[in-house]
């Protein structure tokens, strides 16, 4: 029988997917709600198959009004043909996202049917040490931005003995934790959200593999409050996983005991920094901790703790299931495997692109993304979130990989690319980077807390018609202090967008001065 698939991903819901599903149901059709394929400019993207697991054909930008009398037809203007053959999907190499957009995210049977739990089963056949060896050999590095080798982190935690929570008596229960950082605050990134909404069991399976590998008994997911849909899907998935014996005592009949809870953030960007996240998980102000001690040795509640990003943990099940060697065969230099790139901002075809490391920013933005949404020339691309550098249109041949980006003075971050057309004022963007740091600094260290406030003032001075002669030098010195003197990446990397804007787009910093002058004289009205 005919089955219709309509995404329940928040991005699809934001453009009317619920009304589309309701309209199909009103026509008596069978509707399965899935995650999103990640072809976001086509949302709501509705698919149809002759059976639940048959080949799917799709329609883009479907509105409920298209469905008044009849379901969609193959002669409709928005008919896309076979979804998996669309160029945007056909060129991808999906490991983390292999099931996203295909399965019902909260149906455990659908998960099993599409290869779910194969990684955990394989892991449980192996000794913990062999699992860590596999993760190390895969070359997997932290996808949150820092790129630390995951196997080494896990090895460090595995070597520690579990301890009671700090402050508890010595005979209290002993713990090690797996903490998943789902505080995806970087603008231009949404891959954690879409994975959690589209394949939550994959994240739980990865956490259970990590627990087996390092001997952890407890897991926590720190999920930001701005993602209510992801919170709902993950909570539902945790309940269902417990009922299936995928979490709890004796997972899949093994000796592994492990359970997961969610803690919801409260609107603080810096809590995506791992030590601030630990503070917040412990119920305190989300201020950064000095390291050492490393969280792997003394982390959540003083216990040995693995902290990994959602995408890092979600990579592990397919690495175990398909083999570390196959994963390590992808990519370049020390950037192995796949990365989930997110095309965002002013881009014609925005969405999720999971491919091996090494693709160029140019290919991502122009071949897949097809340039700006506005149709105007591209002026700048911010790579890696609000703390990432702005690249010019001329520098987009750079390979998207840790080493290649670092050589350009940029960073991969969480894999987001935010595209701007030529209407952007880069001086305004530089000022915003400092403003954002003022808003979100945790306040623990002076270079960040005071530096950001001073940064806004100095940029304002630089842009004023009567700018002091040394304003630019002052800004550069300030950035130097913030880079070298801040405790974490918040203050340490805020200078990246500021200086890249200043270095690559100096004319914008002058033009504003002219404009301010003109406004003052009543020549320009804005």
């Amino acid at each position: 029988m005919t089955v219709w698939f309509v995404p329940r991903d928040a991005a699809a819901l934001s453009v009317g997917a619920d009304a589309v599903a309701a309209a199909l149901e009103a026509l008596g059709e069978q509707v399965v709600r899935t995650g999103s394929r990640g072809l976001l400019w086509l949302e709501p993207l509705v698919e149809r198959a002759d059976s639940r697991n048959g080949t799917r054909v799709g329609w883009g930008n479907v509105q409920a009004s298209d469905l008044r009398d009849n379901p969609l037809t193959e002669t409709a203007a928005n008919f896309l043909g076979v979804v998996e053959e669309l160029d945007y999907l056909a060129c991808q190499n999906r490991w983390i996202y292999e099931r996203v957009g295909i399965i019902d995210p909260v149906d455990p049977d659908d998960y099993l049917f599409h290869g779910g739990m194969a990684g955990l089963q394989r892991a449980l056949e192996l000794s913990p040490a062999s699992v860590i060896t596999a993760v190390t050999e895969s070359g997997l590095r932290g996808r949150g931005g820092a790129g630390f080798p995951t196997g080494i982190k896990w090895q460090t935690v595995a070597e520690q003995s579990p301890v009671p929570h700090k402050g508890d008596p010595q005979d209290a229960p002993r713990h090690k934790y797996i903490c998943v950082n789902a505080d995806e605050g970087d603008s231009g990134t949404f891959a954690d959200r879409m994975l959690m909404e589209g394949d939550p069991f994959c994240l739980l399976e990865g956490m259970a593999i990590a627990a087996h590998a390092v001997g952890a008994d407890s897991g926590m997911i720190y999920l930001r409050s701005e993602y209510p849909a992801a919170i709902a899907v993950m909570s539902d998935a945790i309940d269902k996983a417990r009922a299936r014996g995928w979490l709890g005592q004796g997972i899949l009949g093994s000796a592994c005991n492990f359970d997961v809870t969610i803690r919801v953030g409260a609107g603080s960007y810096v809590c995506g920094e791992e030590t601030a996240m630990l503070e917040s998980l412990e119920g305190r102000r989300g201020t950064v901790r000095a390291k050492p001690p490393l969280p792997a040795i003394e982390g959540l509640f003083g216990t040995p703790t693995v902290i990994n990003n959602v995408l890092t943990i979600a990579s592990v099940p397919s690495i175990l299931a398909r083999g570390a060697e196959a994963y390590a065969a992808l990519g370049q230099e020390r950037s192995r495997g796949t990365q989930v790139f997110q095309l965002a901002g002013n881009i014609a075809r925005g969405g999720i692109v999971e491919v091996a490391f090494g693709i160029s920013a140019h290919e991502l933005i122009f071949d897949l993304g097809q340039g700006t949404k506005s149709g105007k020339p591209l002026k700048a691309v911010q790579v890696g979130g609000p703390l990432g550098a702005y690249l010019t249109a001329d520098s987009l041949q750079v390979s998207m990989a840790y080493e290649a980006l670092a050589a350009e003075g940029a960073m991969l971050g969480h894999g987001g690319l935010v595209v701007f057309d030529d209407s952007v004022d880069m001086a305004e963007q530089a000022r915003f980077a400092m403003e954002f740091c003022v808003e979100e600094s945790c306040g623990k260290c002076t270079p960040c807390r005071i530096g950001a406030v001073r940064g806004v003032e100095v940029i304002d001075d630089l842009l004023a018609s009567d700018a002091s002669e040394n304003a630019e030098q002052l800004l550069r010195d300030l950035c130097d202090v913030m880079t070298a003197g801040s405790l974490c990446a918040m203050g340490g990397l805020t200078p990246q967008p500021v200086l890249s804007a200043l270095d690559q787009f100096p004319e914008d910093f002058k033009r504003v001065a002219v404009r301010v002058d003109a406004t003052a004289q009543g020549v320009v009205h804005e």
Binding site: S14, S187, G188, E226, G283, G286, I347
Partner: protein, 164 residues
């Protein structure tokens, strides 16, 4: 406005809500604040003292956490909350202009302004390929403009009235 946590009975009710959290969860202060906000819509006067007591920490400790997180509110929320994304991906597709236009719409319509309060910017709603993004109560809006925001507010008002 009178705090809903004043009488002995109200205080005991709140303790009944919070005690199971404190017993079950390590590090419960933020969880308690979030539970209070879920219950009342904000953190009313008197809540900090009750949380301090059930968590066995000082009121200063609780206040420190309360004042740190931007989600936690001192005053009751507007009937309809409208939050426009102020981060880079939405800036790239006219987010700043939308925020300015929405401000003008509210300035010209006192009823709307009263129902929605001040736009409280949010840094990223994770809808960065379909910006500008906005959150109207729990409803995420993609490709937002003044018209879609207005109709989302109307829908939220209707939903609120139906709920009553």
């Amino acid at each position: 406005m009178e705090s809903p946590i004043k009488t002995t009975e109200q205080i005991e009710t709140l303790k009944g809500l919070l005690t199971p959290i404190v017993k079950r969860e390590p590090g419960p202060v933020l969880l308690c604040l979030q539970a209070v906000q879920t219950q009342y819509g904000y953190i009313p006067d008197g809540a900090v003292a009750v949380i301090a007591e059930v968590c066995n920490v000082t009121r200063a400790d609780v206040h420190g956490v309360f004042s740190y997180y931007s989600d936690l509110k001192k005053t009751p929320p507007p009937v309809i909350s409208v939050r426009l994304c102020a981060a880079e991906a939405c800036q790239a597709v006219g987010g700043r202009a939308l925020a300015a236009a929405w401000g003008e719409v509210c300035a010209a319509d006192p009823d709307l302004a009263a129902a929605t309060g001040t736009n409280e910017p949010v840094f990223c709603l994770g809808n960065c390929a379909l910006g500008p993004a906005a959150l109207v109560n729990e409803q995420l809006i993609g490709n937002a403009n003044v018209e879609t925001l207005k109709s989302a507010v109307t829908a939220a008002q209707n939903a609120a009235e139906t709920a009553l």
